[in-house]
C-alpha cells in the first residue's frame, strides 16, 4: 500500500480487505470500556479541513484519539488561510511540526495529492472536491460487508446527483473492486458524460430498481436547484425519491448523510430496519482508525488483527 490514501485507485482488493479486517479488530476495542490503543502514542495527526464537515472530521478526530495520537484540528475559517496564506505555505508550516499524518479535506479536486507533494507526512484524502472521498467508500463497504458478508455479485444502485458527488466516484470504484455490480441512476443532467468508464451501468429511471440488492441514495443538495439541473425538488422527489413504495422488503438502503428528509429519502425508509445509515456512521471511526493504522503503523508493526486489541488492555495515558 502507498504511503498516502488519496484515491480508491491506490488500493487493491487485498489492501481493502486488510483495512476492513483491521477495522473489525478495532470494532472489538470500541465495544470495551476503555476504547484506546497506544499504537500512535507520541505521533501527531493534523486534521486540515478547508470545507465544513461534521461526521468526517469528528470521526477522524475520534479515530486519531483512540489510537493515542496527538491531534491538531485546523479549519480554514479563522486560520491563516483566512488571511490569504496559500495552501502550499499552510501545508509547509504545519509540516514543520513533523506530523505523522495530515487528514485533508478540500473543495478542490486533486488538492490532497498536491498536499502529498509538499509534506513528508502521510496524507489521507478526506474529500477533494467532487473527485474522491476514499474513507467514506471504505466505511460503506465495511458496513455493507458486516451485513451481507461477501459482496461478490451484489447488485448496488447509486441513486441521485452523481455529477457533484465524490462519494459516488469513490463508491463506484470501491464497491466494484469488491465484486459488486454497480449501477448509477439519476436525472440525465446530473449524470456526468463518460461515468460508465469507471465500471458502472447508467440508468435514468428507477424502473429497474427492483433488481438491486442495495440502494445507495446520494444527498441532493438544495443549491443544485439554482443551476436548473432539475426543475424543482418536488419533481426530483417524484422521479427519484426512495420511499416505502419503491424500496422492496429485501433491499438494503444506504446514504452517506446528512439526509434531506422528504427529498432523496422518504421518512419511512430512513428509520426502517433495512436502512444501514446509522451503521455507516458507526463504521466511520473504526475504518478511519484502520486507515491511520495501515498508513502509519502497518509496515512496522507485526501483522495480525489481534495485535491492537491485545495492547488495549494496557493502561493508557490520558
Amino acid at each position: 500500500m502507498n504511503r498516502h490514501l488519496l484515491s480508491i485507485d491506490d488500493l487493491s482488493r487485498g489492501d481493502i480487505e486488510r483495512i476492513l479486517g483491521r477495522a473489525e479488530s478495532f470494532a472489538e476495542v470500541s465495544g470495551r470500556e476503555i476504547k484506546k490503543v497506544p499504537t500512535l502514542r507520541g505521533r501527531t495527526v493534523i486534521n486540515l479541513f478547508y470545507e465544513a464537515s461534521t461526521r468526517t472530521s469528528s470521526s477522524f478526530e475520534l479515530a486519531a484519539k483512540r489510537l493515542s495520537a496527538d491531534l491538531v484540528s485546523v479549519k480554514a475559517q479563522g486560520s491563516a488561510v483566512d488571511k490569504g496564506e496559500s495552501l502550499k505555505d499552510t501545508v509547509q508550516t504545519l509540516s514543520a511540526y513533523d506530523p505523522a499524518a495530515i487528514v485533508f479535506r478540500s473543495p478542490h479536486a486533486g488538492a490532497a495529492a498536491l498536499v502529498a507533494r509538499w509534506t513528508r507526512a502521510s496524507v489521507v484524502n478526506a474529500g477533494d472536491g467532487k473527485h474522491e472521498h476514499p474513507t467514506q467508500a471504505l466505511l460503506d463497504v465495511y458496513a455493507l460487508r458486516r451485513r451481507l458478508g461477501s459482496l461478490d455479485g451484489v447488485k448496488l444502485w447509486i441513486v441521485g446527483d452523481v455529477l457533484h458527488s465524490r462519494v459516488a466516484r469513490s463508491g463506484i470504484l470501491a464497491f466494484s473492486r469488491m465484486g459488486c455490480e454497480v449501477t448509477v441512476c439519476g436525472p440525465p443532467t446530473l449524470i456526468p458524460r463518460g461515468i460508465e468508464t469507471l465500471g458502472c451501468r447508467v440508468r435514468t429511471t428507477l424502473d429497474e430498481l427492483g433488481e438491486a440488492d442495495v440502494v445507495y441514495a446520494l444527498r441532493m443538495q438544495r443549491e443544485r436547484m439554482s443551476g436548473s439541473f432539475v426543475p424543482s425538488l418536488r419533481e426530483y422527489a417524484a422521479c427519484y425519491q426512495i420511499d416505502g413504495r419503491r424500496l422492496g422488503p429485501n433491499q438494503l438502503l444506504m446514504h452517506p448523510g446528512p439526509v434531506n428528509r422528504g427529498v432523496e429519502l422518504a421518512a419511512e425508509v430512513i428509520d426502517s430496519p433495512q436502512a444501514l445509515i446509522t451503521r455507516q456512521v458507526e463504521s466511520g471511526v473504526v475504518v478511519r482508525m484502520a486507515v491511520l493504522y495501515e498508513l502509519l503503523a502497518g509496515h512496522t508493526a507485526p501483522a495480525g488483527a489481534r495485535e491492537p486489541t491485545g495492547e488495549a488492555t494496557e493502561p493508557q495515558p490520558a
Binding site: 479536486a109 488538492a111 472536491g129 467532487k130
Partner: protein, 450 residues
C-alpha cells in the same frame, strides 16, 4: 505602414542589416520551392544569394551550419506578453527573447493586459516600448470591445490608425452575436481581421477541462467541445452574411474543424490556428491534475487531436500558434480548479512538434515549417522566405539534437510549459529576425571572420 515594432534601433539585437554567410546548411523553404544543401548569403539584412561555395564577403561573419537546417523563421500570431500589468510574468523583452529562442522572427501580442489595449493611447505607448525592447518584430492587437466586456465596440478606426495589428477579445468570447455583427460591419471602415476566442460561456460554465471520460473520473466540471464549435458555426455565418474576415484562435475540437472546412468551401473568409499542445496532447494528460495541462480551450480527446492534425494537413488550419501564456509559479501551484488557464510555448513549439509529429512520420517537416511560418498571413504580415530579395528571417535548427525542455531554464520569465521536463528532439541554434541576429544558442560556436 508596418504594424510590427522591433528593438534593433535600441541596440538590443546585435545590429540591423547583418552580413553573414551561412555555410553548408540544408535550406528548406517549402513555399519558395527551396530544398537542398547550399550556402546562404545574407547581406545588409537581406537574403542576397544561394549557391555552392559562396565567397565570404569582407567583414562578413561566417556561420558554419554544416549538419543544420535553415528554415524561414517562424511567425506566431498568438502570444501573451503580460505587458502592461504583469511584468513579473513576462515583458516585451523576455517574451520576445523566448520567441527568438524558439526560432520566431515575428510575434503578435494579445490585448488582454492590465490596462487592456482598448484605447489608442495604451496601444501607442505599447508600440513605443516594443520599439525599445522587442528582440523580434512584435505586433500588438487591440480589443474588439471596451474593457473586453462584449458590449460596446472600441474605437477601432483610431486603433487601426494607431497601428493595431488586428482586433481580438482573446481570453473571452464575443458573447453577443449582435456585437460581433457590428464589429464585422465596422471592419469595412477600420480594416483588420477579427481574431476570435470561441467559447459559449453558457456551455463552458465553470469548466476546468475537456468534458469526457477523464472529467467524469476526476469530478471536474467539463468544457464540452460544443462550447467552441457552436460559436464557430455562429461566427462563420455572421462573417458570411457581412462579408467580413475572421480568424479562429486555438482550435481544439473535431467539430470545429468540420465547420471550418465547410465554411471555407462555401467561401467564408475564415482562417484558423492550432496550438502545439492541442496537436500533441490530450485530456489523458490531465489525469495527473498537473496545472501545466490547464488551458482554455482545454486539451481534448484523441479523436479531436487527430482531427486537428488532419486540419493542419489539409490547410483548414492555416498555421500553428502557441498561445504562449505565462503565469507566475505561485499561481499555478494551486489545486487544478483554482489555477489560471494557460501554458507557455514559444521555446518548445518547433521541438515538440518535430518530436511528436515529424519524427514519427505523422506529418512532413516541410508541412510543419510551412504552418509555423504562415502565422502572420491572416494579419497581413507576409510569411518569411529564404528566396533572394526577402528580408533575412532565418532560423538554424539542429534536427537531431536532444534536450530536456527547461533543463537550462527558460528565456521566458515563466516556466509553466506543458512540455517541461520532456525529452525533445530538435533545437534552434540561431535566429535572424528582420535582418538582425536575435538569438544564438549558447553552445553554438560561431566564428567571426574578419
Amino acid at each position: 505602414m508596418t504594424v510590427l515594432e522591433h528593438g534593433v534601433s535600441g541596440g538590443l539585437a546585435e545590429r540591423p542589416g547583418a552580413t553573414l554567410l551561412v555555410r553548408g546548411a540544408r535550406l528548406l523553404d517549402p513555399r519558395a520551392g527551396i530544398d537542398g544543401t547550399a550556402d546562404l548569403l545574407i547581406r545588409d539584412g537581406e537574403i542576397a544569394q544561394q549557391g555552392d561555395a559562396l565567397e565570404l564577403p569582407k567583414g562578413a561573419e561566417l556561420v558554419d551550419a554544416a549538419g543544420l537546417h535553415a528554415f524561414p523563421a517562424f511567425v506566431d500570431p498568438h502570444v501573451h506578453l503580460r505587458t502592461p500589468g504583469r511584468e513579473d510574468e513576462e515583458d516585451i523583452d523576455s517574451g520576445s527573447r523566448a520567441a527568438a529562442a524558439g526560432g520566431y522572427c515575428a510575434i503578435l501580442a494579445m490585448p488582454n493586459t492590465d490596462p487592456l489595449v482598448d484605447t489608442a493611447s495604451v496601444l501607442r505607448s505599447l508600440r513605443e516600448r516594443g520599439r525599445a525592447e522587442a528582440r523580434v518584430p512584435t505586433g500588438f492587437l487591440a480589443a474588439i470591445t471596451r474593457g473586453q466586456q462584449g458590449e460596446q465596440l472600441t474605437e477601432m478606426a483610431e486603433l487601426g490608425e494607431a497601428g493595431a495589428a488586428a482586433f481580438t477579445d482573446d481570453g473571452l468570447p464575443v458573447r453577443s452575436a449582435g456585437v460581433l455583427r457590428q464589429a464585422l460591419q465596422y471592419q469595412r471602415l477600420c480594416g483588420g481581421v477579427l481574431a476570435l476566442h470561441e467559447e459559449d460561456p453558457t456551455l463552458s460554465g465553470e469548466g476546468a477541462m475537456h468534458e469526457g471520460d477523464i472529467s467524469a473520473r476526476l469530478g471536474l466540471a467539463g468544457i464540452p467541445s460544443v462550447s467552441e464549435s457552436t460559436m464557430v458555426a455562429r461566427d462563420c455565418s455572421l462573417a458570411a452574411y457581412e462579408g467580413g474576415r475572421i480568424h479562429v484562435q486555438h482550435v481544439s475540437a473535431r467539430e470545429t474543424v468540420e465547420i471550418l472546412d465547410r465554411a471555407r468551401q462555401a467561401g467564408v473568409q475564415v482562417t484558423a490556428e492550432a496550438t502545439p499542445h492541442h496537436l500533441l496532447l490530450t485530456d489523458e494528460a490531465v489525469r495527473s491534475l498537473d496545472t501545466n495541462f490547464k488551458m482554455n480551450p482545454p486539451l481534448r480527446s484523441e479523436a479531436d487531436r487527430q482531427a486537428l492534425i488532419e486540419g493542419l494537413r489539409s490547410g483548414v488550419l492555416d498555421c500553428v500558434a502557441t498561445d504562449h501564456a505565462p503565469h507566475a509559479r505561485e499561481e499555478k501551484e494551486h489545486p487544478f480548479e483554482l489555477a489560471p488557464m494557460g501554458v507557455t510555448g514559444l521555446e518548445t513549439a518547433f521541438a515538440a512538434l518535430n518530436t511528436g509529429l515529424v519524427r514519427p512520420g505523422v506529418i512532413d517537416l516541410a508541412l510543419l515549417v510551412e504552418r509555423l511560418t504562415a502565422g502572420g498571413e491572416p494579419f497581413g504580415v507576409p510569411a518569411p522566405s529564404l528566396a533572394p530579395g526577402f528580408a533575412a528571417n532565418v532560423c538554424l535548427v539542429d534536427l537531431d539534437s536532444e534536450w530536456e525542455a527547461g533543463e537550462a531554464g527558460w528565456e521566458s520569465r515563466s516556466s509553466n510549459c506543458a512540455f517541461a521536463g520532456r525529452r525533445l528532439t530538435g533545437r534552434v541554434r540561431m535566429t535572424i529576425a528582420a535582418g538582425a541576429v536575435a538569438y544564438r544558442e549558447r553552445s553554438f560556436a560561431l566564428e567571426a571572420v574578419r
